[in-house]
Point group: C2
Chain length 206, copies 2
Amino acid sequence: MSVIRILTVDDHPLLREGIAAVFDAQDDMTLVGQASNGREAIESFRRLRPDVTLMDLRMPDMSGIEAIAAIRAEFANARIIVLTTYAGDAQAAAALKAGAAGYLLKNMVRKELIETIRAVHAGKRRVPPEIATEIAEHVADDALTEREVQILQCVAAGKSNKLIAVQLAISEGTVKTHMKSILPKLDASDRTHAVMIALRRGILDL
Amino acid sequence: MSVIRILTVDDHPLLREGIAAVFDAQDDMTLVGQASNGREAIESFRRLRPDVTLMDLRMPDMSGIEAIAAIRAEFANARIIVLTTYAGDAQAAAALKAGAAGYLLKNMVRKELIETIRAVHAGKRRVPPEIATEIAEHVADDALTEREVQILQCVAAGKSNKLIAVQLAISEGTVKTHMKSILPKLDASDRTHAVMIALRRGILDL
DNA sequence: CGCGCGCTACCCCTTTAGGGAGATGCCGCG
DNA sequence: CGCGGCATCTCCCTAAAGGGGTAGCGCGCG
């Protein structure tokens, strides 16, 4: 039986140590490298060609989602598992769309980690039911457009429609039109509510 | 030289394993127990009387801040270090007010962890300069009152002033009066901005 | 005791946000 | 080529939010 060669990517050294400790106890897994942000992850992947990569999403320098997309663009058969604290269905969906084969939460138990790594290494996809359910709840909704997200970011920054209009070089009426499109899409009662929902769903960052 | 007996409290088993791995390599420290939420933490503390406790803040069942306060009420000389991802100056200040002797971020390196544990065990307080600076930036501001936080929570839930008034059984005018007090305190331009600032500073939860 | 603060409540007024309906130009896709 | 989605813009109207000031009432603290 071959040994599974693993790369971990996370900006928390302590967590990486915890993961390493788990693999030390598994004789069919070995940790071949560690990285602490997306940029390092890409570089490490090129050099090490791990069988499975564990990747956090929120990291300095380059996010996990960007790193996943970049690695998959270069190595189409790269097997990457997201390992993160839950950050909303939009984040999870984006990670899977970028090419992640699995999604794990940091509060899971050791057994799930091992099991998921084996499954992904065998070419399967693994998304926990609670995550899958959350994503499924919103596939029916039409997603926000790029422009709408941009406007929502301005709203979150405390800007008025008038200011947003100036900043994006469009009329205030157009900003209102976009807001009238955003609110029902997010099922929000007003702009403040829309921002909260977008934060919870991982559409906006805090 | 006596061995430092340590209790860890965090809802991420992997992180606890990482911490445990660090202590295994230190011959003057030993991990005597683990807990995964505030309630378990209190119970474990009573039973084990650790020299130093490492406590996360965001946990299910009971938050770290409540646990710190409860433990310190019962054991006034308990030495507790917060170990968390940064959650704003209000959270940090609340933890220190509740009786924490130190504040560490999860993205620190091993050496800082060891050093802080030794310092706190020796009776010192340890707060990293970047945290101390953040807290200091806001000590001059007058804090939100209990009622104001309550109203801001309603605002974050997407409620209108009218709805908030009904729910809190006060007049809409009073809600407006409170808002007129909240906005300048947070230096916010409108209610949405106020909610964002409160989230970033740890005054509200997502 | 008096003072300050928190909570309550009211007034007036301006600005902003939100809801409805309609319309144009652009671009990609079948 | 025509259709749909996106972004842009317009007009009208109502509701909500924000800014100013004033004031009573209870409570703790020096």
